[in-house]
C-alpha cells in the first residue's frame, strides 16, 4: 500500500536560510561584485539584481584526497584499437588519472563560482552601512492612509470577521450555564441507577428503576434541546480605523546645464541622482522628485528634459537655489515632508554669484531640509563656489555635505562617504 501525497503547496523556500548564510559568509566577495557592477553598468540597469562571481578556491570545501603520483590503474569503456602494452602520451595539464574524485574536489578545471543575487539583495549590499542623516519626520496625515487594527471583540459584525474560538467558547459557556441543574440531576439519577443495578436481581426496586429511566429520558432530551450555537454566542473581531503615520520625502535634483557641462558629466550626475533616489526609496514609500536645472536662469523641468536637452550660456547657481527654496515654500511644507537636495555641477559659477548662493542656502534652504549634498564633477581646480560652500559646511556640518567626483568610478565611493553611518559625534 502506498501513500500518495501532494506536497506542492508546501513551502518551497526551505533553503532560504541556508542561502542567506551562504551570502553572509561570502559578504566580502559579493560586495566587491556589487561595487564593480555600479561602476560598469548602465544607469537604468541598477534596478535589477546582479551576478556575483567568487573564485572557486575561496569557496571549496576541502577533503582529503589523493594527489597525482604513485601507481594508478583505471578502467575505461569503449576501447577501439588498443592492445595490451600500447603506450600513450600522458595527457598534459593536471595529473593524469589523479583519482576518481570529481574534478571540482581537486579545485582543478573549475575556475569560478558565479550566481545571481536579486534586486533586494543587490540593494542591501549596495547600501549596506549607509544611513539617511536626521531621519525621517513622520507625520500623522489627516488626509492619508488608514489601516485597520484589531481592537477587541464585539457582538455585532459581518460574518467574515467571525471569531470562531471566542464564539465557540461562549457557546460552550452558555450551554454549561443553562444545563447545569439538569445535568446535576442526571448525574445523581445515574448514580442511583447504577447502585440499583448492582443489587441482586430479586432485591431490585424495579419500579424505582423504571421511574429513573423515564426521568432520565426527559432530562437528556432537555439537555440535547439546548442549541449548540446561538446567535447570542457569536463574537466578531472588532477592527477600528487608525491613521497611519506616513513618511514622505521629496528629492530635489539640481544640476547645472550650462555650456561647460558635457554629456559625460551629466551622465555621472545622473548616476549620482539615481543612487540617491534608490537609497531614499528604501526608507520612504512615497518620493516626489523635483528636477531643477539652471544656467543663468533656473527652471523646473521633467526628467527627460533635465538629463538630455542641451543648453548653453553662463552660469548663475543662485537662481537654482532660489527656485528650490520657492518650490519648497509653495508645495512642500517642511513640517510634512522630508526634504533632500542633491546638487551637481562642474564648479563653474559667475564670480559675483557664489556669495549670494551661500547667503540663500544658509538663510532659506538649509533650515528646511534634511540633507543637502553637493557634488562637484570636475578634474580641474576648485573655483569660488566650492570655497563659499566650504563655509556653509563649516556652519552646518550636520545637514550639508560636499564631495568632488573626478571619474565615474568615484561616484559610488563618494556616495558612500556622503551617507556613511556616523558615530555619535
Amino acid at each position: 500500500m502506498s501513500y500518495i501525497i501532494d506536497r506542492r503547496l508546501n513551502g518551497k523556500n526551505k533553503s532560504s536560510v541556508n542561502r542567506q548564510r551562504f551570502l553572509k559568509r561570502y559578504r566580502k566577495h559579493i560586495k566587491q561584485s556589487v561595487t564593480d557592477a555600479i561602476k560598469s553598468r548602465s544607469i537604468t540597469d541598477l534596478e535589477s539584481g546582479s551576478e556575483v562571481t567568487i573564485p572557486s578556491k575561496d569557496i571549496s570545501e576541502p577533503i582529503f584526497h589523493h594527489g597525482s603520483g604513485g601507481v594508478n590503474h583505471r578502467v575505461f569503456p569503449g576501447n577501439k584499437e588498443f592492445v595490451v602494452g600500447d603506450e600513450l602520451q600522458r595527457p598534459s595539464g593536471g595529473g593524469a588519472g589523479g583519482g576518481q574524485g570529481k574534478a571540482s574536489d581537486s579545485g582543478e578545471g573549475e575556475d569560478e563560482f558565479s550566481f545571481q543575487i536579486n534586486r533586494d539583495e543587490f540593494l542591501e549590499f549596495l547600501f549596506e552601512n549607509l544611513e539617511l542623516p536626521h531621519m525621517v519626520k513622520k507625520k500623522l496625515q489627516d488626509s492619508g492612509d488608514f489601516k485597520f487594527v484589531q481592537a477587541g471583540f464585539s457582538n455585532e459584525g459581518n460574518p467574515e470577521r467571525i471569531n470562531i474560538v471566542r464564539s465557540l467558547r461562549s457557546a460552550h459557556a452558555r450551554r454549561i450555564a443553562l444545563s447545569g441543574g439538569t445535568r446535576r440531576e442526571i448525574k445523581a439519577l445515574e448514580k442511583e441507577q447504577k447502585a440499583l443495578m448492582e443489587k441482586p436481581e430479586n432485591d431490585r426496586d424495579d419500579q424505582r428503576l423504571s421511574e429513573i429511566e423515564q426521568r432520565l429520558v426527559v432530562l437528556r432530551a432537555k439537555v440535547s434541546k439546548l442549541p449548540f450555537l446561538d446567535t447570542f454566542d457569536l463574537k466578531y473581531n472588532n477592527l477600528i480605523k487608525t491613521p497611519v503615520p506616513s513618511s514622505k520625502a521629496v528629492m530635489f535634483c539640481v544640476m547645472d546645464v550650462s555650456g561647460s557641462m558635457t554629456q559625460a558629466i551629466k551622465d555621472m550626475a545622473k548616476r549620482f541622482f539615481l543612487l540617491l533616489y534608490m537609497f531614499l526609496q528604501r526608507a520612504y514609500k512615497q518620493i516626489d522628485v523635483v528636477f531643477i536645472r539652471h544656467h543663468t536662469q533656473a527652471k523646473e523641468v521633467d526628467e527627460e528634459e533635465f538629463f538630455y536637452s542641451r543648453e548653453t550660456g553662463g552660469t548663475i547657481v543662485s537662481s537654482a537655489i532660489a527656485l528650490t527654496s520657492d518650490v519648497i515654500e509653495e508645495r512642500y511644507p517642511p513640517a510634512d515632508w522630508n526634504i533632500y537636495v542633491a546638487q551637481a555641477s562642474d564648479g563653474d559659477n559667475w564670480d559675483g554669484d557664489s556669495d549670494s548662493c551661500r547667503e540663500l542656502l544658509m538663510k532659506k534652504v538649509l533650515p528646511k531640509v534634511q540633507y543637502f549634498s553637493y557634488v562637484e564633477i570636475t578634474t580641474g581646480e576648485h573655483q569660488n563656489l566650492w570655497f563659499e560652500y566650504e563655509k556653509v559646511r563649516n556652519t552646518y556640518p550636520e545637514t550639508f555635505a560636499m564631495q568632488k567626483i573626478e571619474r565615474s568610478g568615484d561616484i559610488y565611493p563618494v556616495f558612500r562617504e556622503l551617507f556613511s553611518k556616523r558615530g555619535d559625534d
Binding site: R7, K14, I59, G78, N79, D86, Q116
Partner: protein, 501 residues
C-alpha cells in the same frame, strides 16, 4: 487477452498515479520484491532544488554549504545547463520518493517502478543498509539533529556552530567505521551508553589526561616507553575526536556525533551506487515490460519509456566529450541483466566462469546478489567476460616512474581477470579515499595528535591536506601532525600550526 491500458495521454493525475502504483506493485509482488511501505510525494521543481540542497533529505540542519549547493543547483537549472533528476528517494521507512510535477505520466510510472520498488527493495534487502542504517529512525534522528543544532546556535552563536560544522563536514569521510560492525545492543545497554555519554566530561579527567608520570613508563635512559594512545590506530577520526579531544564542550561532542551519524547513514549508499542503480534500472525495465505484456500500457508509453531508459543507461566511450567516468547506471543495469541471462541462458563460457549460478533460478540468484554484496565485491564476483567485451573495457596503468601511460589489460582472454580486479578496486572506497588513521597522542607531553596516511600504490596526499589539518587542529585544540608513510618509512609530513622549513 489484452486488457485496457491504464491511461493513454501524457498528463498525470492523482487517480492515475494510484492506478499505476497498484499495477506496478502487483508485478513487484509477483517478483517477490520485499519493500518498505511507500510514501510518494509530488513536488515542484523548486522543492526539488531544496531537496537537492539538503543532500536529498526531507529536512536537515542549516549550514551555509547547503546554501551554496542550492545556489549552484538553481543557477545551473535556470540557465538550462542541467535537468533535475526525475526523482529522489530516501532510505527510510516508509520509503519517501519525490516525483516532480513536471514529469509526464510515463515518467511518473517509470519513477515509481524505479524508486518505490527498485531502490526501496534494495534499501530493505542489502546487508550494508541493514547493518548500518535504521530506516525507521532516520527521520526522527534528523529532526533531533536539526533542533539540537538550532539550540546550539541560539546558545553559542551561529558562527561558533558553523565553524564546528565546517570542520566536521571536512572530515565526514573519516567519520565512519569501515570495518567494524555494530553489535546489536539491548535497550538496557542503550540506556547505559547514553549515561556514559553524559559522563564524558568526567571521563576527561581520567587516566588519559592524568599528567602524573608513572614509574614504569620511563625507562633507564629517561625515554618514554609509554604505550601509544590509542593502542591500535583508529580509522574513525570523528569518533576519536568526539570521545577524546581534550578541550571540547559537551555540546560540541554531540555536534560531532551528529555529523558522524549522518556520514555513517550515507556510507552504504556510497558503496553500493552501481548495484543500487543497476538494481533499480533492472526493475523499472522488467516491471514496465510486464505491464506492457499485460496490455496495461500503450505502445506510445513504451516508446517514451525506452527513450529515457536508454539515455539513462548510455555509456559515452572514453574519448567522447561527454565522458566523465563509468556510468554507474550502465554498469549496474547491464550487470543485472547479464546476471539474469547467465541464469536463464548460459553459454559455455558462462558455465566455465560461473559454474555455481549458470542455469540456476534467476530471481533467487539476483536477490541473493542484491542482499549480500557491495559494488566492489559484486563486480569482482559477477562481471562476466561477455559484458567486458560488450562495454569494451580496458585498463590503463599510470605509474609515475614511467614516461608513458600503459594499456595494461583489455577485454581478451588474458585480461579478463585482472580487468575485473582493477574495476572492482576502482569501487573500493578503502583505496579510493586516502587511508588516514589516528596513530598516536602525545599524552604525557604536548598533547599533540599524530595521524598516519598509509600509502596505497605509493599515491601521495593532495595539497588540501594542509587545509584539513587546520580543521583537525580546531577540533583537537593542540598541535596536529600528519605523516604520510610507505611501509614503515615516513615519506612526507604535514603540520598544523605549520613548521618552519
Amino acid at each position: 487477452m489484452k486488457k485496457k491500458p491504464i491511461s493513454t495521454g501524457s498528463e498525470w493525475t492523482f487517480e492515475l498515479l494510484e492506478a499505476y502504483d497498484s499495477a506496478i506493485s502487483q508485478e513487484a509482488e509477483r517478483f517477490e520484491l520485499d519493500t518498505y511501505p511507500n510514501q510518494i510525494e509530488v513536488i515542484t521543481s523548486e522543492q526539488m532544488m531544496d531537496a537537492y540542497a539538503s543532500v536529498g533529505m526531507p529536512l536537515n540542519y542549516n549550514h551555509w554549504s547547503f546554501g551554496k549547493q542550492f545556489v549552484q543547483t538553481q543557477q545551473n537549472y535556470q540557465r538550462g545547463r542541467m535537468g533535475l533528476a526525475y526523482e529522489i528517494v530516501i532510505n527510510s521507512s516508509p520509503c519517501i520518493s519525490y516525483l516532480m510535477e513536471e514529469n509526464t505520466m510515463t515518467m511518473q510510472a517509470l519513477v515509481i517502478a524505479h524508486a518505490c520498488y527498485g531502490h526501496n527493495s534494495f534499501f530493505k534487502g542489502n546487508y550494508l543498509f541493514r547493518t548500518w542504517t535504521n530506516a525507521t529512525a532516520i527521520i526522527d534522528y534528523l529532526v533531533f539533529a536539526k533542533h539540537y543544532i538550532t539550540r546550539c546556535e541560539e546558545q553559542y552563536g551561529i558562527e561558533e556552530v558553523e565553524q564546528l560544522l565546517d570542520s566536521c563536514h571536512a572530515l565526514q569521510n573519516y567519520g565512519v567505521n569501515r570495518y567494524k560492525r555494530p553489535q546489536p545492543i539491548s535497550a538496557e545497554e542503550e540506556k547505559k551508553r547514553q549515561q556514559d555519554r553524559s559522563e564524558i566530561l568526567q571521563q576527561q579527567v581520567n587516566q588519559l589526561w592524568d599528567t602524573i608520570p608513572k614509574k614504569d613508563e620511563v625507562d633507564a635512559d629517561g625515554k618514554s616507553n609509554a604505550p601509544r594512545f590509542p593502542p591500535e590506530p583508529e580509522e574513525n577520526i570523528l569518533y576519536f575526536l568526539e570521545k577524546n579531544a581534550p578541550l571540547l564542550e559537551p555540546w560540541q561532542r554531540e555536534v560531532i556525533r551528529i555529523a558522524r551519524k549522518t556520514a555513517q547513514y550515507f556510507y552504504p549508499q556510497k558503496q553500493t551506487q552501481v548495484m543500487n542503480e543497476g538494481w533499480a534500472c533492472f526493475w523499472h525495465y522488467t516491471l514496465l515490460h510486464s505491464l506492457y505484456d499485460k496490455g496495461l500500457v500503450t505502445d506510445g508509453f513504451m516508446m517514451e519509456f525506452l527513450h529515457s531508459h536508454s539515455s539513462v543507461v548510455y555509456q559515452p566511450p572514453f574519448d567522447s566529450p561527454y565522458f566523465s567516468g563509468i556510468n554507474p547506471y550502465t554498469l549496474g543495469y547491464h550487470m543485472m541483466q547479464d546476471l539474469r541471462r547467465i541464469c536463464e541462458d548460459p553459454t559455455n563460457e558462462d558455465k566455465e566462469w560461473f559454474s555455481d549460478i549458470a542455469g540456476s533460478n534467476w530471481l533467487d540468484t539476483m536477490q541473493e546478489a542484491m542482499r549480500n554484496y557491495k559494488d566492489e565485491s559484486f563486480i569482482q564476483q559477477f562481471l562476466s567476460p561477455r559484458l567486458m567485451r560488450e562495454l569494451k573495457l580496458f585498463s590503463i596503468t599510470d605509474d609515475e616512474k614511467q614516461n608513458n601511460l600503459i594499456v595494461s589489460n583489455i577485454h581478451d582472454e588474458g585480461g579478463y581477470r585482472q580487468l575485473r580486479t582493477d574495476l572492482s578496486e576502482q569501487y573500493n572506497l578503502g583505496s579510493r579515499e586516502p587511508n588516514i588513521q589516528i596513530y598516536n597522542v602525545d599524552v604525557r607531553g604536548d598533547r599533540s595528535l599524530t595521524l598516519r596516511h598509509y600509502r596505497h600504490n605509493n599515491r601521495p596526499l593532495a595539497d588540501s591536506a594542509d587545509e584539513l589539518l587546520k580543521h583537525l587542529h580546531r577540533l583537537w585544540g593542540f598541535d596536529v601532525h600528519l605523516e604520510s608513510v610507505r611501509g614503515d618509512e615516513v615519506v612526507k609530513t604535514f603540520h598544523c600550526p605549520q613548521r618552519e622549513s
